[in-house]
Structure formats: structure tokens, C-alpha cells
């Protein structure tokens, strides 16, 4: 899939050889790509959030498994990660949303989708003020709905409006960051918001209720997910390090499965919230196990792309319709921009 495999370096370690051999026993096509080179430092852009990624970060597993120092940069949005990728200043984007990813791939920013953090599902959802009396889509007419523009939530909200024949004139859609949404909600400036936690839980605790949209939207093709992307040049040069990072995330997912209480405590500490809050947030997401990500429902296996490429294509087409990006390539481009080799090695 990658155009030019890096030549095997003379410094192949025994471990890499062993691993390459083991992988080769299962399927041979990517054996020649195992390179021993380790990066001096890996630049990872991430979000401070209540997800298992924070376990692997907090306990140093990412650095251990990738055998490299990691330079962590906090990102404010997926768009920021895209810009940093375009500038070549970030190697890995951790938990970037599917809509900025679809935009980035369409714009050929030079990165590959290498794994998923979660399927967002109901974790991002419409919250309406109880007193605003919103019960049907038509009730949204004349109301003010806030969402961070460019995010997966924004994508869902626009999908919701479109499915229900509402225009951005019927509903005032406001571009606000999550913290500003909470402030505006408390002042009574907005009637509804499409956002994620912790902002979402604050709205719910403050006179809000869930207005369920996600199931219908998922069925209509507006699936949203948080993904892991790697700069193509970095991936070409250091496939082992990338595999290591994914393996570290796999360990964190295992901990969340087997010891959820301990996981919630670590995540809470990392994100600066109580273990109870972290637990509640963690439960909202569907953290797809690495093995399952390789199924045809999600990313697929090397040479056998999964259906997630279609989700990205649908997302990109919608962004074109919104004039957010100029054009979207065919589904093949999204399949090509998905590289599941490191993931299958991390699992295998």
C-alpha cells in the first residue's frame, strides 16, 4: 500500500526480526517493511479527555511500547491537529474526530488513519433546556443551538437539521467552544447544545435533558468516531514505533475492560476530574477493541478495507456540500488512506 518501503536497515534488532518473523508466519505481504529505526522523539497531539488513552499516557505506556521519548502537545480541536499535520509538526494525532479526519484526507494533508479510539455513539448528543419545550424537530424552529464548529458534534447537528428539513435560518446555529457553551447555558442565552462531556454533563445537571438523535443519525450514515492518525512520512520511517503506540492503547483498553474502577481512577486523575465523573464519561463511549477494529464493520484488515472508509467518504461529501472543503475524493482514496498494518501487528 505504501509506495516505497524503507530499506531494511543493517541495525535490525533481534526483537524486531522475531516479531517480523512471527507476523510473517501469519501473512507475508508486509514483512519487508519492518524497519528497526526508532525515532528520537514522537510528537503527539492529544486532547485532555476522559478516555483510556489517558491511562496509556499517564502510566508512560506509549513511551515504553514505542521505545521513544514523547513530546505531548495539547490540541484545542481536530482542525488544529490538521493544521499541525500539514505543517509537519505533529507525528500522531490522538482521538481526532472523524469529520476533521475526512477533511484532512480529502485535502491530502499527508496522514494515514491507523486506528480508532472510540465510536462516539450517544456520548455526543443534543441537550435541550427542559423549559424550552422542545419535543419534536419542528420545535427547534427559532431556537438557538450551540456547537463547536468543525467538530463531530457540529457534523451531527447539521445532519440532524438536514434530515428534518430544517435550514440554518430556521434554527440559529452558534459556533462556541464547550466552556463557552456552559457559560451561555447558565446565562440562559441558548436553548440547546450539541456537545460532549464534561460540558454535556454540566448542561444536563443544570436544567437540561437529552434529546436523542444519535440512533437515527447513525442509521442515516452520520456515524462519528474518534480516530488515531499518523503522518505518512513518520509511519513510513518508523512503523515499529507506530505499532508500539497502538499496542500501548490496546493495553489501556484491556485495563478498562478488566479493571474499570482502577481505570476510571487513573483517567480521572489525568483529566482532572473525580473517578466518579470519569467513570460516567467513560461509560458513554463505545471503545472498540483493537481486534474488532480490524473487522469489516470498521477499519478492516490490510488489503481488505472495512466499511469505515464509506463513513469517511459520506462525511467528506457532506463537508463539500457545506462548503467546508472544496472537493472530496472517491471512496478508494479513503481506503488507501487507512493503513491497518501496524494495527494488525499490534494485535497479532
Amino acid at each position: 500500500m505504501r509506495s516505497s518501503p524503507p530499506p531494511p536497515s543493517p541495525g535490525l534488532s533481534r526483537r524486531t526480526l522475531l516479531r517480523a518473523g512471527a507476523a510473517g508466519a501469519l501473512a507475508a505481504p508486509w514483512i519487508g517493511r519492518a524497519a528497526a529505526a526508532t525515532p528520537e522523539v514522537i510528537n503527539i497531539a492529544y486532547f485532555v479527555e476522559t478516555k483510556p488513552t489517558m491511562i496509556a499516557k499517564g502510566l508512560g505506556w506509549f513511551a515504553d511500547e514505542a521505545k521513544a521519548k514523547i513530546n505531548w502537545t495539547e490540541a484545542g480541536s481536530g482542525a488544529e491537529i490538521n493544521t499541525a499535520m500539514a505543517a509537519g509538526s505533529v507525528d500522531i494525532g490522538l482521538a481526532i474526530g472523524s469529520s476533521p479526519t475526512a477533511a484532512g484526507i480529502s485535502q491530502r494533508l499527508g496522514y494515514k488513519l491507523i486506528g480508532m479510539v472510540d465510536n462516539i455513539g450517544p456520548a455526543e448528543e443534543m441537550t435541550v433546556r427542559k423549559s424550552a419545550n422542545i419535543h419534536t424537530p419542528a420545535d427547534f424552529k427559532g431556537k438557538k443551538v450551540a456547537t463547536p464548529f468543525g467538530s463531530t458534534s457540529h457534523f451531527r447537528l447539521l445532519g440532524f437539521l438536514k434530515l428534518n428539513g430544517l435550514s440554518q435560518r430556521d434554527v440559529t446555529v452558534l459556533d462556541m467552544r464547550p466552556d463557552a457553551i456552559v457559560a451561555a447555558w447558565e446565562r440562559g442565552d441558548i436553548d440547546a447544545a450539541y456537545v460532549w462531556s464534561p460540558a454535556k454533563s454540566k448542561l444536563l445537571a443544570n436544567g437540561g435533558e437529552v434529546y436523542r438523535t444519535y440512533d437515527k443519525l447513525d442509521a442515516a450514515g452520520y456515524v462519528i468516531a474518534d480516530l488515531i492518525v499518523a503522518r505518512s512520512k513518520f509511519l513510513d520511517a518508523y512503523p515499529d514505533a507506530v505499532t508500539g503506540l497502538l499496542r500501548a492503547y490496546g493495553r489501556a483498553l484491556d485495563m478498562w475492560q478488566t479493571e474499570p474502577q482502577k481505570a476510571a481512577e487513573i483517567v480521572g486523575k489525568q483529566a482532572g476530574v473525580s473517578a466518579e465523573v470519569a467513570m460516567a464519561d467513560l461509560k458513554e463511549y463505545d471503545f472498540v477493541p483493537l481486534k474488532q477494529q480490524l473487522s469489516s464493520q470498521w477499519l478492516g484488515r490490510p488489503g481488505k478495507p472495512g466499511r469505515f472508509a464509506d463513513v469517511l467518504k459520506t462525511t467528506a461529501d457532506f463537508l463539500v456540500e457545506q462548503h467546508s472543503i472544496r472537493s472530496a475524493p472517491g471512496v478508494i482514496a479513503f481506503q488507501k488512506a487507512t493503513d491497518t498494518v501496524p494495527l494488525s501487528q499490534a494485535v497479532g
Partner: protein
């Protein structure tokens, strides 16, 4: 001084070189259009915006929203600032009371108190215009105060000796003398208001040219960003030209 004709020649030359370099760099595929779109792309981006608008609103509406905010913020800020400055120039005690706050506010980056404004005034037009008001006020106040202070003492004494009342002194001596500085202050203020516009439109936007630039930048739509920058630049030039005309009309004697 350069003769007007050669001056235009030089201006035309610099513009031609810039455009040639732009075309050269972009058409050769030297840089990705994400980083620097070519003139053709910017033009088609402009046509698209004229035809379809941006995110549910026409380009004209975005321009009008920004212009409205700038004008209201500037007018209220500059008027309040000028009145305050005149009073401060006239009464030393008032100056002592207000000056520390004005001096504190003047160099303060507007983004620093942006969040407070949202919490106090909400997400509507009020907080946006308030931000622009606060940007315009201190500059205008300082200019008006200094204008009053710089009126030569001799003129005041002559006027009073001729039996002019305090109001007449103010109306016929102080105000005309200070006017030049007041207008200079206004030109400075509109520059600052204009620079603050993008910050103001970060507040829960979805309208305005400043917001459009921010939002287009999020998806690296550099063509729209360029169109936005060009529009905002031309609007700035027009506003400045308006004030210069006003200055010539009102204080035609200044500098002579």
C-alpha cells in the same frame, strides 16, 4: 518629494511584481493551494461566496454584520471617549480620577477580558459591541484630553479678557484647537476597533467577515480566507478614507 505621476508608477510596479510573484509561485505547483491559493482560485472562491453565501448567510450579510459592529462600537466608544477626554482636559481632578483606569485599559489586549464580557453580557451583539466600545474609548479619551491641554494658554486668556463666558471659550477656542487631535485619535481608534473585530466575532459567532475567516481557516479553506482578508482590508481602507475626508472638511486648517 516624488512627483505624483512617478509615485503612481512605483505603486503600480510594486503591485505588478507582487501579483506576478503570486501567479508564479502558485501556478508552478511550487506550493500546495492549502497554503497559498492562486489568484484564479481566490477569484472563483469569491464568486462562490457571492453566489451561495457562507454557511447559511449571504456575503453581503456577513459584511454588513461586521460593518455594523465596527461602526456602532466605534461611534459609541469614540463619542464617549472624546466627551470624557474633553472633560478630563478641562478639570484636572476628573483627570486624576479617570486617568489610571484609562491608562490601564489602553494597552490591555482585548482577548484578555473576552471571557468576562461573555459572562457579563451574554453571547449576542451586546458583548461584541462592548468589546469594540472598550477598544475605542481609551484612545479617544487620551487624544481629546491632550488636545484640550495643548491649547495655548495665551489664546484662553485673550478670549477671557474679551469677556467670553466659559461655554464660549470652550465652544469657540478649546474645541476648534483640540479638533485636530480628536480626529487623529478617532483614526487611531478605528484602527484598533478594526483589529479587535476578529476577537469580537470569536464570541459565539456564525456571522461576520471576521468569523468567516476564522471558520474557513479551520478547514484550511485558504481561498475563502484570502477573500475574507481582501474584503476586510478594503473595508478598512474605505473607513480610513472616510475619516480623512472628514478631517479635511472639519479641520482644514490643521498643519498649516
Amino acid at each position: 518629494m516624488t512627483a505624483p505621476r512617478t509615485r503612481y508608477l512605483w505603486t503600480a510596479l510594486s503591485a505588478a511584481i507582487l501579483i506576478a510573484a503570486w501567479v508564479g509561485v502558485t501556478s508552478g505547483g511550487l506550493v500546495s493551494d492549502l497554503f497559498l491559493p492562486g489568484p484564479g482560485e481566490v477569484w472563483s472562491g469569491f464568486l462562490e461566496l457571492v453566489q451561495d453565501g457562507y454557511k447559511g448567510r449571504s456575503l453581503g450579510e456577513h459584511i454588513w454584520d461586521s460593518l455594523f459592529r465596527v461602526l456602532v462600537g466605534f461611534m459609541t466608544g469614540a463619542c464617549a471617549g472624546t466627551l470624557l477626554g474633553l472633560a478630563m482636559g478641562r478639570w484636572r481632578r476628573l483627570d486624576a480620577i479617570c486617568a489610571p483606569f484609562i491608562e490601564f485599559l489602553r494597552p490591555l489586549p482585548q482577548l484578555a477580558y473576552l471571557v468576562l464580557l461573555i459572562v457579563w453580557f451574554g453571547i449576542g451583539e451586546t458583548s461584541k459591541i462592548m468589546l469594540l466600545f472598550l477598544a475605542a474609548l481609551p484612545v479617544s479619551a487620551v487624544a481629546a484630553r491632550d488636545g484640550v491641554r495643548n491649547v495655548p494658554e495665551a489664546r484662553l486668556r485673550v478670549a477671557r479678557a474679551l469677556g467670553a463666558s466659559e461655554w464660549q471659550v470652550f465652544r469657540h477656542v478649546i474645541l476648534p484647537s483640540a479638533l485636530a487631535e480628536i480626529i487623529t485619535g478617532a483614526r487611531l481608534a478605528i484602527g484598533i476597533v478594526y483589529a479587535t473585530l476578529i476577537a469580537a466575532e470569536i464570541i459565539a459567532g456564525s456571522t461576520g467577515i471576521g468569523w468567516m475567516i476564522l471558520d474557513a481557516g479551520r478547514f484550511l479553506r485558504s481561498d475563502y480566507v484570502f477573500v475574507g482578508i481582501i474584503i476586510i482590508g478594503l473595508m478598512g481602507l474605505a473607513l480610513n478614507a472616510l475619516l480623512v475626508t472628514l478631517e479635511r472638511r472639519l479641520v482644514h486648517w490643521a498643519g498649516r
